[in-house]
Structures are given as C-alpha cells and as structure tokens.
C-alpha cells in the first residue's frame, strides 16, 4: 500500500518500509526530463495514437499541461474500420482494459507535416516526436527527410503495432524480428540527424531481444510497450468478436490500466539488463501519478499515455503532474533524476530472495467488519491458516501456520484491518541461489 491511498487501484502487497520525508510545502519541484536527447518540461508525453492525430489536439494537450507528444504514426494513409475500439469493464468501472484495431494516420502526409511544423513553431519547449512506419529503405529515407524539415524533436519508429499493419510486413512484424528491426533502425540513423526512438512490441518472448537489436542498430532510446495482441470479448447474441465490423472482428491491441504490470515488468527487464544502456520511454496503462512513479522508479526517462487521455480527455495530465509533484515534495526530491531508477536495486531474481524472511497476518478486531472474505480466500484459495472462532464473525489467523502470502490482506475491504507483521527469526539471509552454492538446494524447491 502506498501513498496512504490503497483504495485507488494501487497494488496491495507487502511494500516494505518506506522512507518518510514528510510534506514540504512550497518547495520548488522540477519535472523536466530528457529521453534519448529529447527534452520536455515534464515526463508526460501523449503516446502516438488517436489523441495525437491533429495539430488542434496536440496544441490543446500542451495547453493542458502535457510535456510532449508522439504524433500519430505517419506513413501511407490507410482506411480504418467501424467499429475500432473495445473495452473491458470491471466491477462497475468502465475501461479497465481497452483494445483497438485502428491503424496509422488516415490523413495525407503533407497535411500532417504542415501541422507538425506549426505545432513545433508555436510550442518550441515541448517535445514533439514523429512516429513513422513505412516499408522500403527508400520510403524510410524519403519520409525521414521530409519529416525532419518540420523541426520535430525526434522520431519514433513504430515496430509495435500488432494489428493490420503487421499483416503488411510493418509494425510488430518488424518488432518481432530482431534482425529486421536492427537493419531498419540503422537506416533511420543513417538518414536522420535528430534522435531516433524505437517503439517495441510486447508480443515477443523476451523484450530484451528486440531492445538489444534497437541498441545495435544505433537507436537513441526505446519506447515500450506497444499494445498486446488481444480479442476483447465476443458478442453473445451475434457471436461476433468485439469490436465488431459488420458482424466480424479481429485481434486488436490491448492497453489501459490492465496492462500496466506487464509493461512495468518489461521496463524493469530492460532496466536490470546491464548490457542494455538506452533510455526508456515507458508506455502501458499509466492512468495516475502512482502508475507514472512506478515506471520512473524502474528507470524510465519519459512516460507515454494514451488510453487515459482517450477516456478522460487531456485534463487528466494535471492529476498526474500534481500527484508527482506532491510526492516529490513529501520525499524532498526536487528533480526526477534524483529518484529515477531508485527501485531497480531492490528488484532481484527469485533465486536471490531471502527464504528466511517471515511475515504473518494480523487482524485488527476493532476494524474488522466480519465479511470473512479473508477466511474464504485463505481456506479455498491459499493455505488454510485462518479459523472462524465460535460466537464472533471476526476470523482468527493461525499465526504459527500462516505462510505470509498476503492474500487475506489483499482481499480485505477495510483499509488497515489486516497487516503483515514481521516475525523475527534470528536467521541470516539465505536465498535459493545461496543454497545451490552451498549444495543444500534440495530443501524446498521453486515451482
């Protein structure tokens, strides 16, 4: 639980001790960032997508407080379908997850270029990145030279789009083929005199493979994740996948709050890989300042947001910037660089975690409302360590049997009712890898 605000979708779990700086009213906070040579007044960029389709949208977004924008992918204008979007609702809230089968820009290149130039002229301090997707080496040379003339700050090579474009040999078809990705990145570097970011698809086995290919190709940074290949749902009356196009549907790209943990893992993977040295522009389910902070703490240099803007409009960025500022004041940070990547040292492979560390659950009988969800969860879904004493609805943790899994705390609807308490065992840290090294690894396996 973080920020004293566990009810807003923040993950439950044993977050461990947290350094508390206390509020620092009025302390100046600088949110400016730099990612692969591209600077912006704050880390929040609109990701390439429907919100960055036109100059009118991007300028309105900058006025609202966005630090940058990645223009909707330029290339051969396409024809889109109707419908294009589908969403998952969860527990009475809509758009827990979102998918789309929309393609790149459907507007003529010259119109887009004219508008990019106009936006850059009016907003010189904001980051304006042009997303590109074409096929041949000649196409790439042509579009890079024409687009660079707009004065934009950098390029993002769209090797991530998992629907429609990949069937034409572009988008994720490139992102899933590291040799091709490396080669095209090399072309872009050859033709461009401004920074080149490579946008990666998560529809691969290990994100490090395409990321290393981007690095070998000379990219200045990577953006991830693009959307995850998905079928959102089926219409139970027409039997058509959703979104439905005249009774038929297809796989789309999944995004929104539901994908954040997947994106955070991939960003972390790159942050931990010593051989990978490029800056990361993080994308995937960022809806609040807390989501944003997670990615920054795992090393992201800038952040991209799309679904939240599609759901709530551009104004949503103000919650993110204000939240981040407030947290920085509370912790005593004045620049993002002071804490960027701060959580990476605490991320370890499972084999390096301490097997001797022990916590047990504790129920506050005053706060407990007697729903017994913890009991049902532990009894049916975990380790049968909670009892129901007669004469009360307050369950009792069998602490000598409790395995410290956290499930009861996660399902408890009352904030602060179930806490995880450390049990001092007086044992030194011992990990699985320690046991392997000592030749005692048979005692309790991983699964």
């Amino acid at each position: 639980m973080r920020g004293g605000n566990p009810g807003n979708g923040a993950p439950r779990g044993n977050g461990g001790p947290r350094a508390n700086g206390g509020p620092r009213p009025g302390r100046p906070v600088d949110l400016s960032v730099e990612c692969g040579g591209i600077r912006s007044p704050n880390p929040f960029w609109l990701a390439s997508g429907p919100p960055t389709n036109t100059a009118g949208q991007v300028m309105r977004a900058f006025d609202m407080g966005w630090g940058g924008a990645v223009w909707k992918t330029l290339g051969d204008p396409i024809t889109n379908t109707a419908s294009r979007y589908g969403a998952i609702d969860y527990q009475g809230r809509n758009v827990a997850g979102f998918n789309n089968i929309e393609l790149i820009t459907d507007r003529p290149l010259e119109v887009n270029l004219r508008e990019i130039a106009e936006v850059k002229r009016r907003y010189p301090g904001h980051a304006l990145v042009a997303s590109l997707m074409v096929e041949t080496r000649d196409d790439w040379r042509d579009i890079i030279r024409r687009t660079e003339d707009t004065g934009c700050d950098g390029f993002e090579l769209n090797f991530g789009c998992p629907h429609g474009m990949c069937e034409r040999g572009m988008g994720s078809a490139v992102g899933q083929e590291p040799r091709l990705l490396e080669e095209i990145t090399g072309w872009a570097r050859e033709f461009a005199s401004i920074p080149v970011l490579v946008k990666l698809t998560p529809n691969i086995t290990d994100i490090l493979d395409p990321a290393m290919a981007a690095q070998r190709g000379g990219a200045h940074g990577v953006s991830l994740i693009n959307t995850i290949k998905s079928v959102i749902a089926i219409d139970h009356d027409t039997f058509s996948p959703i979104p439905s196009v005249a009774g038929q549907g297809t796989s789309g790209g999944y995004c929104g709050p539901a994908v954040k943990p997947i994106a955070l893992h991939m960003v972390t993977r790159l942050g931990k890989a010593e051989e990978f040295r490029l800056p990361v522009s993080a994308i995937g389910g960022i809806h609040t300042w807390e989501d944003a902070l997670d990615f920054l703490l795992m090393g992201a240099s800038s952040l991209q947001v799309c679904t939240a803007a599609m759901h709530y409009g551009f104004r949503i960025v103000q919650e993110m910037t204000r939240g981040l500022e407030e947290w920085m004041r509370e912790k005593g940070y004045s620049r993002i660089e002071e804490f960027r990547g701060r959580a990476l040292p605490n991320y370890e492979e499972w084999g390096d975690l301490d097997l001797n560390y022990r916590i047990v659950a504790e129920i506050d009988p005053v706060l407990c409302i007697g729903c017994q969800l913890c009991y049902a969860a532990c009894e049916d879904g975990a380790h049968q360590c909670i009892a129901l004493p007669a004469g009360t609805r307050v369950p009792r943790i069998k602490q000598d049997e409790c395995v410290g899994c956290n499930l009861c705390q996660i399902v408890c609807p009352v904030e602060g009712c179930i806490t995880m308490v450390e049990v001092e065992r007086g044992l030194p840290k011992e990990s699985w890898n320690d046991r392997v090294a000592a030749g005692t690894a048979g005692a309790g396996g991983r699964h």
């Binding site: 009475g92 809230r93 409302i369 007697g370 729903c371 017994q372 009991y375 129901l388 609805r393």
Partner: protein, 436 residues
Amino acid sequence: MLATDRVETRLPDLKPALTEAQARAEAARCLFCHDAPCVAACPTAIDIPMFIRQIHSGNPVGAARTIFEANPLGHSCARVCPVEVLCVGECVYNAKGEPPIMIGRLQRHATDHVVHAGIQLFEAGPSTGRAIACVGGGPASLACAHELVRLGHRAVIYEKGTWPGGLNTDGVAPYKMHAEESLAEVEWLSEIGIVWRLGVEVGRDVPWVELEREFDAVFLGAGLGADSALGVEGEDLPGVWGATALIEAIKTGRQVDPLSVYSAVVIGGGNTAIDAARELKLLGVPEVRVVYRRGPESMSAYAHEREHATAEGVAFTWRAVPVAFEGNGRLNAVRLTTVDRGCNPVGEPFRVPADLVAVAVGQGRLETLLAGIPGGIAHERGHVRVDEATGRTSNPKYWAGGDLANGGAEVVNAAAEGKRAARGIHEWLERNGGSV
C-alpha cells in the same frame, strides 16, 4: 380489474426502481461475504450475495431465479420487507460506517425484470394426482401453493374476498407497493397452475367436510380477522375506521378522500398504526397524530418506521387513550385521557379535533373459523399451533402458516412458512401415501 384512480396511486414508491446502471453500480459494491450475515437474517435464506453478483454480471434472469427458488414471494418481499431490521441491517458495511447494500432495491431490480416481462422461470412438476386446498389468498397460501404445484400436486386457493394476494394487495403501505404489483406477482406465480376460487368462504360457502373429501390435505393461511374495536363511545360514527379497513379502502378504491380530511388521529403503537399515519400524512392530511397508551420505548412499530413518520410530520401523543369519539352525526373530535404506566387514567380528559380516526389496536382472531374444522385444531386464542419443522397442525390433515399461525409477522415469514408447509405436506404424501 382494479380501478385506475385508486387513492393509493397518488403515492409514488419511496424506494423506486433502480436503473440498470444504478443496479450494476450498487451490485458492484457487494463484498460477497463468506457465510453472509444478510442471508442468515433472511427468513427465506435467499442467497443474497449470489443474486447480487448475478445482477452485476448482467444476468438478471439468473438473479431472479436465485431469489424465487428461495422465496416464491420474492417480488413483493423486495418491496415490503423491513430490510432495515433484516438483511440490510446485518450488512457488514454498517460496521464499516458506509451505507449498507440496497438489497431490497436490487432484489426488486431482478424480480421486476422477469415479472414485468412475463418471463416464467418455473413449471408444474410431474403430476402426483394429489390435491391440496389452501384456505386464504395471501402470501402464506401463495407460497405454499406455488411450491406444491412445482412438486407436482394440484393446489387450489380459496379466498373469500374479491382480490387475490391478501395483505400484499390490500394492506401494504402504498409507498412500498401498489396493489397492481401484488396482483402481477399473483398472476406470475399462478401461471404454473395454481387454481383460484375467489369469493368463496370456506366454512360458509364450502363446508370443511367437503374440502376434506375433495383434497388430500388442507393448508390454513387465512391470516387475521377484522380490526379490533376499542369499545369506546362513538366508535360507530362515520369517520372512525379500523386501520386495516382504512388502508384497504385507500389501496383498492376511492371511498376515502384524504384531501377532505384536515386532522387525523391514529390510535395504536404497532406497524399498522405507523403505516396508516404515514399514508394519511403523505396523502396530504395536514395534521396527523398517533396516540399511544405507552411511551415510544414500548412501541412495537419499527424504530426506522417511526423515524420516517416523524420526519414526514406525524405527531405523537404518548401515554394517552381515547375515552370517546365525538361528533354530531359525523366525527369531529377525539376525547383523550392521559394514563399512567399501568394504563390507569390520570388527570382530566382533553379534546383533540379530528375528522378521521384510524383504530390500529390489533386484529381479531379466526377462532370461529377454526371451530368449524372437523375434529378440531389446537390453537392459542386463534393462533394455530404448528410443528416447527413441517408446519403441521394438531389435526393430521391440516397444515398452517402465516399470520394465522405466527400471530402476525412479515410477508417474508408467511412465505417461509407457506413453503415449509408445502414441503411438509409433500413429504407426508410421499411417505404415507396421504392416509390419515
């Protein structure tokens, strides 16, 4: 057919239907408690967390099935149950300091969905060739008959009045449920094959012996008798009503015009008194006063109902009893006297102007009805004694439930007892072949 200009139609639902979006949002709040306290508080043990989850997942028909499987009267109970002292009162959100789940309104959302659309969820079981008479057309007999038909028996309900549904039709406060909603439920339940004999009084129009000859068993669900009288001077003046008779008039017709009443007095301290007072107040009577012989702590009416009444402007006079109703050919005042804790008059009587009085001091017992049963039946001052597990009476061919047996409780109790008796009758028929 009910008249469309009945007085009760002037009162809208105090707890109106939820929209689909409201229902889903409210359903999403339900925690799905383990061994849920709301279920334990329901006399019919509806699996409340399950039907709420079914509403949330877009399965209102399934939700209604969950409700009606447990409680055949689920449609009316959604509206008339005192949820504040049953399921909702036990919701764990109360302990959390948050509004409890609106269980009644969610239940209504589900049952409205099937009853209003005429979606039938049940059918008669394979015929057993057995037949059971249910005496009285209220909730207890309905629940009993519905369960019996589902089990394959023939069920015939005898109702001496004009309308089926009992107090659900003519006695429930209109802001909780209108008569047509009760009739809709009766019609929906009866579709599976319940037979009605309306306007037929057992013991008068049909002798008990004939009933015993025609049927394998008899269920007694006749409820309570007419309003008790005070035996006070002037009680026969026009303008003096028995409370349930007044409510019946409001619900089924237009014999009483609340807009012509300026000052009404309700005598009594039970839920019927509060219902009558609230109805008169909400129908526009400027001055409504409840007069009770004891203090507020002794009232048998629910505290939440009294609070609603107070908020709506009903006044209370504690520790007073009427000694006379006054008027020249028509009521114009009640003469009251203050009483002590032993209900003995103290001080001088005083007059309260009144052009309408509702006497809500209980209802008569059906001892005369019971006296006609061949072989007799054990009862305590009209409350038929039944077996806790089966609902069977001392007379082997008779089962009973509802107000006639419990002395006057909620619709949900009548539903539970009617269903219990149906199971009891069924088991007996299965086991003994119905030979007494």
